[in-house]
């Protein structure tokens, strides 16, 4: 049994969203996704929310999920993971044969969380990891280890920032488009050397909702629109004991890639995939993830066409969801000003951010003939 994307909704990302409660923000994205899917909430079999307690400000935050999705008294649960893990969970749910349609949701009200670094510091191991300084210290150590062990330089990291922020200018849903010079990035305000302020994705508010359906159901409801199928999902985690983790690579990405590629029948990412959405929460991480997928500078035109998290913002668990939203729109040819030509297969990658190395991958395919890709275009 296969699974396809029936509909997507995204509120857009903003530095703040005053005037909308989190419920109203999510409801906006949900309404959009249901309309896109041509389905009413009452027809949907179940829901998965993706969120973390101390970001929402609630304990056991799943309590506050069903109402704004129109899913009261339906099968609903929360995955505290990357949005793409929520997608993977929903796919498995459908593949049991017990569910035909499942909706997946995540949101960020980052502007309502007053000390985000304090929350992040609270994620570190209380016995070994909370050093009482900026939690970005681990990004500094990680970037240093990566640069020591790879052939990349700090200039490559800076170029990730300038490129992604510039690309976001063409994306009307991205709040952080902008032209920066390499000097702006490398000599900007230091946070934890060699990481500077602009190498860290800035937070944003927003909600994203995706409706998934069994292939057969999706075909029935496609109504002549291109069907985007999920042909592979994978996720993985390196050890939570940071002291024993290889900080120069992303084991989580490698595990996720292996699972997803095996399922989708992909052997070589560069030649078989048209578009890549790679996590760039910290700029150096895009390079770490490119290495994991075997991508080189030649592939850069096909990487993060939406502007990445550096351009779209860090929406906590929703971050990779808004990237998936863009991927689906690209594969349908609905991306507008930043539409990439000939995009028929896309890879979306998510990383949960520090202190983790938990990553997830989904492969999306529109089913059209592949050939031209973003690079050729």
């Amino acid at each position: 049994m296969g699974v396809a994307v029936l509909g997507v909704g995204f509120s857009g990302a903003f530095p703040t969203s005053t005037g909308l409660s989190y419920r109203e923000l999510i409801k906006r994205a949900a309404e959009m996704a249901y309309q896109d899917a041509g389905i009413e909430p009452e027809e949907v079999d179940g829901a998965v929310s993706v969120e973390e307690d101390f970001i929402s400000g609630y304990s056991i935050a799943d309590e506050y999920v069903p109402d704004q999705l129109g899913m009261v008294r339906k099968p609903v649960y929360t995955v505290t993971g990357d949005f793409l893990q929520g997608i993977a969970s929903a796919v498995m749910q459908i593949e049991t044969g017990q569910f035909k349609t499942v909706v997946v949701e995540a949101y960020s009200k980052a502007s309502n969380v007053l000390q985000k670094d304090e929350v992040l510091h609270f994620a570190f191991d209380p016995v070994f990891g909370r050093l009482g300084v900026s939690p970005h210290y681990l990004a500094g150590i990680e970037m240093q280890r990566f640069l020591d062990e790879s052939l990349h330089s700090v200039i490559d990291v800076g170029e990730v920032v300038t490129r992604n922020r510039a690309r976001a200018i063409a994306n009307p849903l991205a709040p952080y488009g902008g032209r920066l010079s390499l000097e702006d990035v490398l000599y900007g305000r230091p946070v934890a050397t060699p990481v500077t302020e602009s190498m860290i994705a800035r937070h944003a508010d927003g909600a994203v909702v995706v409706v998934l359906a069994a292939d057969e159901t999706a075909r029935e409801r496609a109504n002549g629109r291109p069907l985007v199928r999920l042909t592979g999902t994978g996720w993985g985690s390196a050890t939570s004991i940071v002291e024993r983790r290889d900080l120069a690579l992303s084991e989580g990405t490698l595990i996720a890639k292996e699972l997803a590629f095996k399922e989708a029948g992909i052997e070589d990412a560069a030649s078989e995939i048209d578009l890549f959405y790679l996590s760039d929460h910290y700029a150096h991480r895009q390079l770490v993830h490119m290495d994991a997928f075997g991508l080189s500078d030649e592939d850069l035109p096909a990487i993060n066409p939406d502007g990445g998290a550096l351009g779209m913002g860090d929406l906590f668990e929703a971050t990779s969801g808004v990237r998936m939203f863009d991927a689906v729109r690209q594969l349908r040819g609905e991306a507008g000003a930043h539409q990439m030509a000939g995009a028929n297969r896309a890879l979306v990658h998510g990383w949960r951010g520090l202190p983790t190395d938990t990553c997830a991958v989904v492969i999306l395919e529109s089913g059209g003939p592949r050939g031209l890709n973003g690079r050729d275009a």
Binding site: S59, V79, M92, V133, P194, I255
Partner: protein, 738 residues
């Protein structure tokens, strides 16, 4: 769809406060489950973790923190939750992993370490309530349980003494459970005479707070048949989540449990559950909940079936419908998520004939486990069966006693090296469109609702869409009367953190159905101006508002509801249309909030060794024979092989001269993002001795050295720390250049 079976189980003891860290508890449960399933961690294809709020263990992204202890390192790993329903949802999520065909097996782990949370783990429950409309009232779980219990007793006619019998039965059953924390042979009088916390709830009506972990191994049928003599199959699953507006629900009958049960029965092909199920493990965090849930599991809103079974003694372990033969949450303990999985493990033991002294007398072929939680809104249900009625067997599990399980109970965290921590978690939540108008009503001394034009419900709190009508837009707002009727209530002697109120003080919380709102559309608030003994369900009440000049547009502008005198109650209900507040930069409001918790963490067995040695000025690791490596920092388990290590017996001292900087970063901000007066250097230190796996992070004291001279490979030594009062923590870990 593949059939999915439980083929192994493991658990720790449930204790009030464990010395072991969260990960160490999980790791020991995993080791035992793998052994029971005759598998190695390398055989496991994926791992899932079910654990409820992060506020208990005191770690943001708790699931990530638990990866190593759960056996998830280097694997597909995912955490999920549905509040207190998590424990029984966990095998459902695991079932998805296997039944989908994506994996052949799945390790399911549930852990909860509630003890780090101070002043009391119950305080964490303040943060489950709506931050804008309910948290300002300082509610906790005991309050709403009591509110629900009062409604349940009112609707079904159970007495407090009858409900106390459930506690007596379960605590007695738990005497035979090796993990049990509060097994006792009590009488109904003992329960009735225990401290009254929040009428009608008394101390012995409640399960304890606990630390503990449980793990099970799920596999597809082929693997199960190969590895397990008596696999127990998951036949049906169901889970349903009701609205977050809990005051709008029928609190006496858990419709969401009944719906989840119906889903599970349909999948399992069960038509008449009371005749087809042999073992029942409903969730019993409070005594009344077992019967409350049994009504749902039997899908009987009249409650007659459960009443008959209860009166006939059928729920005894040797009765016709054995209920909670494990001892349940009331007897075994309640490390929330782990409790639900303990119930699944109990079905596995019972249905495979290895429950030992707890084995039910009735030939057990099929069993059901259920959990519940969130804001009294989620039901999770699993139906399981063995291959026919299996013979009773002697296995390690049938013989185990508490001495065979790990879990070191300590009375006070100060007995061992520990870290205290106070997170500064502050928020300003946008009220948004509908709540801005609703809270503006409070400022005007009005209760405001909004009406859905499709279903016609007048809803409070006012909302901008209808959750029951496909998210239909709602834009008609009304002022309602500030009078209503008490639907249910509690007379409370405890505050939000479970501390007893001063003698003589009673806080009365009630769900009040507001006049003019839809049926059962209530709000929770305080009652006042009334003798507690005069409060009753059905009492008419009226709001008492603060003086207009003191109102700020929050729910506490309404001080309390007082009794409504008969001559005031004219029976006229006027709803007045109002124009909603136009939200602009000035009128948009936020509700401020802070999570009022702090934490005291034990260092765990590995951490204890680390800090005790650091106090002597040495760094140590733990030798793992299987991998022939020394793990740094010291560890009580090896995350590669998921087997136990002894940080003391297997300790290896690291040569001071071999520590060197692996990477260094100059940090300019404090933990909250404020600029530091002076940057701090943080180093990752490695040890070049062969066979060492790991490193240590700490601050670098420059000790007069030029910062420019710090380089990877630079030799460093650890600075000894003080272990006075057993207080310690990562901020104390410092290195100096050699």
């Amino acid at each position: 769809m593949s059939r999915v079976a439980v083929i192994g189980a493991g658990m720790t003891r449930f204790v009030r406060r464990a010395e072991e860290s969260s990960g160490e508890l999980a790791a020991r449960a995993v080791e035992m489950a793998l052994e029971d399933a005759n598998l190695d961690i390398d055989d496991i294809e994926c791992v899932i973790q079910g654990t409820a709020p992060d506020a208990f263990d005191g770690v943001h992204m708790k699931g990530e923190h638990l990866i190593a202890g759960s056996g998830g390192s280097g694997k597909p790993y995912m955490r999920h939750f549905v509040g207190g329903g998590t424990g029984v949802f966990s095998p459902i999520h695991g079932w998805m992993h296997v039944a989908s065909g994506k994996f052949k097996n799945c390790l399911v782990v549930c852990e909860e370490k509630m003890s780090p949370c101070v002043p009391h783990p119950a305080g964490a429950f303040l943060t489950i309530f709506d931050h804008t409309t309910e948290q300002p009232l300082f509610l906790t779980l005991i309050h709403i349980f009591a509110i629900e219990m009062a409604r349940f007793m009112h609707a079904y006619g159970y007495t407090e003494e009858e409900l106390a019998q459930i506690s007596v039965n379960n605590k007695r059953n738990a005497i035979d459970h090796p993990a049990a924390q509060v097994a006792e042979d009590l009488t109904v009088a003992d329960v009735m005479n225990s401290t009254l916390l929040s009428w009608p709830v008394k101390r012995y009506d409640i399960s304890p707070t606990s630390d503990g972990a449980v793990a099970i191994v799920l596999s597809n049928e082929r693997v199960a048949r190969h590895h397990c003599k008596a696999p127990v199959f998951i036949d049906g699953v169901g889970y349903r989540l009701d609205t977050a507006y809990w005051c709008t629900r029928d609190l006496a009958y858990p419709q969401y449990v009944a719906m989840a049960a119906r889903d599970a029965y349909k999948m399992a092909g069960i038509v008449k559950p009371e005749d087809e199920i042999d073992v029942w493990e409903p969730y019993d965090p409070f005594a009344y909940k077992a019967l409350h849930h049994m009504n749902g599991l039997l899908m009987d809103k009249t409650g007659r079936k459960v009443r008959e079974l209860f009166d006939s003694g059928a729920f005894a372990r040797d009765g016709s419908h054995p209920m909670c033969p494990s001892g349940g949450a009331l007897g075994v303990g309640n490390p929330i998520a782990a409790t639900g999985l303990m119930k699944i493990a109990e079905l596995y033991f019972q249905l495979s004939g290895q429950a030992g002294k707890r084995q039910v007398k009735r030939h057990a072929h099929r069993g059901i486990a259920q959990a519940w939680g969130d804001l009294m809104q989620v039901g999770t249900v699993v139906v399981m069966s063995g291959d026919g009625s299996l013979p009773i067997r002697k296995t390690p599990w049938s013989e185990r006693t508490k001495d065979d399980l790990v879990g070191t109970a300590i009375k006070n965290v100060k007995e061992v090296p520990h870290t205290t921590y106070e997170p500064n978690l502050t928020y300003a939540w946008d009220d948004g469109y509908a709540l801005t108008t609703y809270l503006d009503g409070f400022k005007q001394g009005k209760i405001r609702g909004s009406r859905c034009s499709e279903c016609g419900r007048m809803m409070i709190p006012a909302r901008s869409f209808c959750e029951l009508c496909n998210l239909r837009h709602v834009d008609r707002y009304y002022d309602l009367p500030d009078t209503g009727t008490v639907e249910t209530y509690t007379l409370s002697h405890v505050d939000w953190s479970s501390a007893m109120l001063p003698d003589g003080q009673v806080n009365i919380f009630a769900v009040v159905a507001i006049d003019g709102a839809a049926d059962q559309m209530g709000l929770v608030h305080r009652l006042g101006g009334v003798d507690p003994k005069d409060v009753h369900i059905g009492m008419r009440v009226k709001a008492v508002w603060k003086p207009a000049a003191e109102r700020t547009g929050t729910v506490t502008d309404l001080e309390y509801f007082r009794p409504l005198a008969k001559d005031e109650d004219k029976g006229e209900i006027a709803t007045v249309p109002v124009k909603p507040v136009e939200v602009d930069t000035l009128s948009a409001k936020t509700a401020s909030g802070k999570i009022p918790l702090s934490y005291a963490y034990t260092a765990g067995l590995g951490g204890r060794k680390f800090y005790e040695d650091l106090a002597k000025g040495v760094l140590t690791g733990t030798y793992c024979e299987e991998s022939d490596t020394v793990l740094v920092p010291p560890a009580a388990f090896c995350e590669r092989g998921m087997h136990a290590l002894d940080p003391n017996a297997d300790s290896r001292t690291l040569d001071e001269g071999l520590g060197s900087v692996m990477a260094v970063t100059k940090v300019y901000e404090d933990r909250a993002g404020h600029l530091l007066d002076e940057p701090v250097y943080v180093v990752q230190v490695e040890f070049t001795e062969p066979g060492i796996h790991g490193s240590v992070f700490g601050r670098l004291d420059l000790d007069g050295h030029d910062p420019e001279d710090i380089y990877p490979g630079m030799p460093v030594a650890v600075v000894p720390l003080s272990l006075e009062g057993n207080r310690t923590g990562p901020e104390c870990v410092r290195f100096r250049p050699l």
